[in-house]
């Protein structure tokens, strides 16, 4: 059996899966105390279950996201080496941010050596401020980690935890590397405590199978291993819903996935079972990071959104939420009240919901049913408009080769998959607003928990070989090797594959789900003065988001 758990903003869903069957699914309100919520959810789903039979469990939590959004981050010092470009002070983050002298160029050659005295001076200031955690980031450190490693070597004895920039991602983006390093450092203690406490609960419940956390790219990572990069577990909710769509539907063709919740509607595009990934990285709170994620968009329109009618008769649904729907004791009319009034939802105070719709109707000059119908129509139109812009933005992403320009593949969704509480009721309206067939998968109301449960481990490596410099570097795993002048793409691919699989196994993958694919592959001859001096090879290889082989649902 497999256990999946998704902590949402208002509700926490848990499912128990055997083969292709959902054996049990429960929903409980998400409480203030995350561990207590997890414990309660586990206890209620496991009552009467032989826990020894649970071979695997996965969690999508809001721990890191909430800590970032609510600014509950540990005080963290930063030491930065930059060199020419934008003034690094522009990216100052945390209470004690220091730029030291030292610079690498884009090839990784040292342009200015590190200045030890300024590093030690920064260290003293950070320590004086009573800070025990530090992040170290260098410009172009993914091309040569030497400066970051040198700083770590000088300062590591002064701090309880040190986070480095080059292992965050192989991607180029110095400001994002700074912010991601900062988040990894400042979430470290919180996440370590959480991981320890969850481990304790699971041990106590006699749950000994592999334990995973979900990441924003729709992949999982071993609970204990996640401590090395805690920011990577933030913002996993939208990914859980996309993986749920994949598990419950398969998403053949180009599918627009909509998850209609209470506060928001999250959207994503899945192409033949493969979610589209953001090439830069996810934004966590106000921080743009280098953490890979599924491209999702969150629209502030959901079942509990505020409905407003303007003086010109135009209606808006969202983006505000003002307490619960009228049917559940709230003060302001919401789409949920429309569903209750139309008899589509058999919950709450029906009389109160009806009065809310009647009030709305008098502003619109119609009866309660017609008003409720208008509300759902407007909600669907708002979603459709936002989805249109979302798809347009995906298609507007720049490309850099002639091949890509000429073989332009525009993404045009041909169907829509709707999940979340109101899914079956809103689907006909969305179908009309988008002009696309809509379907609702089974277990649409616990899809996120299913997604978390059956998502496989993902990993990525970025390899850059420079035969002029005589090195190949794979920053994600902190590896740099000497190579000779004959090092070529075939060798690069073999090395990347071996490294990627090794890495995936370390962070929790099983041998039967190591499906690798190349996502970027370029080789350039380096010419200096009409003479070839070397080859510059760039390769990205990933284990893309997918489902574990145990999930054998025939779709």
């Amino acid at each position: 059996m497999i256990l999946g758990l998704d902590v949402g903003g208002t509700q926490t869903d848990t499912v128990l899966i055997e083969g292709d069957q959902i054996l049990a699914a429960i929903k409980i309100p998400t409480g203030e105390d995350l561990l207590l919520t997890l414990r309660t959810a586990l206890e209620s789903i496991l009552s009467g279950v032989e826990t020894g039979e649970i071979e695997r469990m996965a969690f999508s939590t809001t721990l890191a996201t909430n800590a970032i959004v609510e600014d509950r981050l540990e005080r963290t010092g930063m030491i930065i080496s930059a060199g020419p470009g934008i003034d690094p002070a522009c990216f100052s983050v945390g209470p004690s941010f220091h730029v030291v002298e030292g610079c690498l160029d884009h090839q990784g050659f040292e342009a200015v050596p590190l200045d030890k005295s300024s590093v030690m001076e920064a260290t003293a200031k950070i320590r004086e401020a009573g800070i025990n955690t530090i992040g170290i980031t260098g410009k172009f450190s993914v091309r040569n980690a030497a400066h970051e490693l040198q700083i770590v070597d000088w300062v590591k004895n002064y701090f309880s935890h040190v986070a480095m920039g080059h292992t965050v991602s192989g991607g180029l983006n110095f400001p994002r590397r700074i912010f991601t390093t900062y988040l990894n450092a400042s979430l470290h203690e919180l996440h370590t405590t959480f991981s320890g406490a969850l481990t304790h609960i699971l041990d106590e419940k006699n749950l000994h199978g592999p334990r995973y956390l979900l990441k924003p790219d729709g992949g999982t990572i071993d609970l204990v291993r996640s401590v090395g990069s805690p920011a990577r577990t933030a913002q996993s909710g939208p990914a859980a819903s996309v993986m749920g769509a994949l598990a419950l539907d398969g998403c053949r063709g180009a599918t627009l996935v909509l998850d209609v919740g209470g506060t928001t509607t999250d959207m994503a595009v899945v192409l033949d079972g493969m979610p589209l990934l953001n090439p830069h990285g996810v934004k966590l709170g106000r921080y743009k990071t280098l953490i890979r994620s599924i491209i999702t968009h969150s629209l502030g329109t959901g079942g509990d959104s505020v409905i407003q009618v303007k003086t010109n008769g135009k209606m808006t649904v969202g983006p505000l939420r003002n307490g619960p729907p009228v049917a559940f004791g709230g003060a302001v009319a919401t789409p949920t009240d429309a569903l209750v009034t139309l008899g589509l939802l058999d919950m709450g105070n029906k009389g109160a919901a009806r009065v809310a719709m009647e009030d709305l109707g008098s502003a619109l000059g119609c009866n309660a049913e017609a008003a409720a119908d208008r509300v759902l129509q407007q909600m669907a139109e708002t979603i459709a408009q936002s989805a249109g812009a979302f798809v347009h933005d995906i298609n507007a992403q720049p490309v850099y080769t002639i091949h890509q320009v000429l073989n332009e593949e525009k993404i045009e969704p041909t169907s829509v998959l709707i999940m979340g509480g109101p899914a079956p009721h809103i689907a006909p309206y969305v179908e009309k607003a988008l002009g696309l067939p809509c379907r609702v998968p089974p277990h649409y109301d616990v899809a996120n928990a299913v997604g978390a449960a059956v998502a496989r481990v993902t990993a990525q490596v970025t390899l850059q070989a420079d035969t002029e410099r005589g090195t190949v570097i794979i920053p994600e795993v902190g590896e740099e090797h000497k190579i000779d002048r004959r090092f070529d793409m075939d060798q690069a691919i073999a090395l990347a594959r071996e490294t990627l699989c090794r890495r995936a196994l370390i962070i929790g993958a099983r041998n039967n789900s190591l499906e690798t694919s190349i996502t970027e592959k370029q080789v350039f001859n380096m010419i200096r003065g009409y003479r070839a001096v070397g080859r510059n090879i760039r390769l990205k290889m990933t284990i893309t988001p997918g489902l574990i082989p145990q999930w054998k649902r025939s779709l």
Binding site: G83, P84, G85, I86, D87, C90, C103, D105, H106, Q107, A111, V112, K139, F140, G171, L172, N173, F174, P175, R176, H280, R286, K288, A396, Q397, P398, V399, Y400, T401, I402, H403, V405, L406, Q522, F524, N525, M526, I527, G529, Y530, R531, A532, N536
Partner: protein, 435 residues
């Protein structure tokens, strides 16, 4: 967080799958390190800097600026169309008001491509600025355009295309043609009979540094622009004046380029040459993008700036001051002796043009109608060592009836001649006829 003071569009197209030949300076690798630097700086995350996706230009867009021999498909590849198309995307962004200015960071370049195109000259096949300018004129009704070409090589292609156009001010700042390809671009090249003084060449001595470029800009270029009052300013932003450039002898820097751009404030900048791909382009391009966006560029410099940049020598400074003074006399103080022509007089000139990249020899015979009402119709007959023998007739925008008539007459007569192809470029009617 930082943000752009001016909303700036960026069209980036490094053409990672195109080269003239594997070891040619115009090869796949050229913008690789620029891309690395732009990405690593995180410039595209800065609010107010918007990256646009390229699209290929259509043959129709090229036909407004060129006579391609025998046709567009023979002298262009996809990369040329996309590079020109990148400029059109930049133009749209600016003219639709989505951004205040835009930078087309594209390759291959275009400023050595003349109106008649038999092949590749100076790494260029089609003139991407001219294609863009004529697109802007057609689609946005813009009339007066100023082009400031800051590439190290004389922008002889752009000069050729706008030689007769009084509504285009073409200013080229470059290394003295006696010391560098293409060997032209002297002050006495100042425009055709209907556009006298609308071409301004500023040949700077080798080793001109930051001081000399900025002096020339402040003293000469800015006053010229002020006087001309263009509707739009285009910068052909070649980057080969750089002290690290391997094929030129100038002494400019990333910091200097950034300051130049800040003062010039072009509406659209277009990348031209620049072949110090590792140790100049990454920094110059970052500097230009930041300058366009109105950001602080004081931290932009080459890692070897302190070590290798030499301030301009006194001799060079004196030389430049004399040159600028002489050019001010000619172009700002009315010293240029404008020749007067009879209305309707037909002037002829013969020229030999060499296509260095493709090794083609071309002989041109041009006729222009002197006209005080419009830019004047002209015809070019051209014979090339490829065996081509063609004639192209150009009827300008806002053509007067007499020029329109003579243009059409030339085209009809040409069709009866021994030419292999005869082309008519009728700008007002948006027509390109091939016979």
């Amino acid at each position: 967080m930082i943000s752009a003071q001016r909303k700036t569009g960026l069209v980036f197209f490094p053409a990672f799958d195109w080269a003239i030949s594997p070891e040619h300076p115009e090869r796949e690798e050229r913008l690789l390190y620029t891309q690395d630097q732009v990405m690593e700086e995180g410039l595209l995350d800065i609010p107010g800097i918007v990256e646009y996706r390229v699209r290929p230009a259509a043959y129709e867009d090229i036909q407004r600026a060129h006579f391609c021999v025998p046709d567009e498909s023979a002298v262009t590849t996809e990369s040329h169309l996309i590079s020109a198309g990148g400029c059109l995307v930049a133009a749209d962004a600016v003219l639709k008001g989505e951004v205040e200015s835009a930078f087309a960071l594209v390759r291959p370049p275009g400023h050595h491509a003349m109106r008649v195109v038999h092949g590749n000259r100076g790494f260029c096949n089609i003139n991407i600025e001219a294609v863009m300018i004529e697109y802007i004129r057609t689609h946005y009704g813009v009339r007066k355009v100023a082009i400031v070409d800051t590439d190290c090589h004389h922008g002889d292609g752009t000069q050729d295309i706008y030689w007769h156009d009084p509504n285009t001010l073409f200013i080229s700042i470059h290394q003295d043609g006696r010391t560098l390809y293409p060997g032209s671009g002297f002050p006495n090249e100042s425009g055709g009979p209907n556009a006298q003084g609308k071409t301004v060449n500023i040949p700077l001595p080798p080793q001109t540094g930051e001081k000399g470029f900025l002096y020339t800009l402040d003293e000469l270029v800015m006053p010229l622009l002020e006087e001309f009052k263009p509707d739009i300013v285009i910068n052909s932003a070649g980057q080969d004046n750089h002290f690290n450039d391997p094929i030129t002898n100038m002494n400019f820097s990333a910091r200097g380029y950034a300051i130049l751009n800040k003062r010039l404030k072009p509406d659209i900048a277009v990348l031209e040459g620049g072949y110090a791909i590792e140790n100049a382009l990454p920094y110059v391009n970052v500097g230009i993008i930041m300058a366009m966006a109105g950001m602080d560029t004081s931290f932009v410099k080459e890692p070897n700036y302190e070590k290798d940049y030499r301030p301009q020598s006194r001799d060079v400074t004196l030389n430049i001051e004399q040159l600028v003074e002489a050019l001010k006399d000619l172009f700002l103080r009315g010293g240029l002796k404008k020749k007067s022509y009879d209305e309707g007089e037909i002037l002829e000139r013969k020229r030999d043009i060499f296509y260095d990249t493709d090794g083609i020899q071309e002989r041109q015979n041009e006729k222009i109608r002197c006209c005080s009402h419009c830019a004047g119709a002209f015809s070019i007959s051209s014979t090339a060592s490829t065996g081509q023998h063609i004639m192209g007739v150009h009827i300008p925008m806002e053509a007067c009836p007499a020029c329109r008539k003579i243009g059409l007459d030339w085209f009809q007569a040409g069709k009866k001649g021994a030419f292999r192809h005869v082309y008519l470029q009728d700008r007002d009617r948006g027509l390109y006829d091939v016979a």
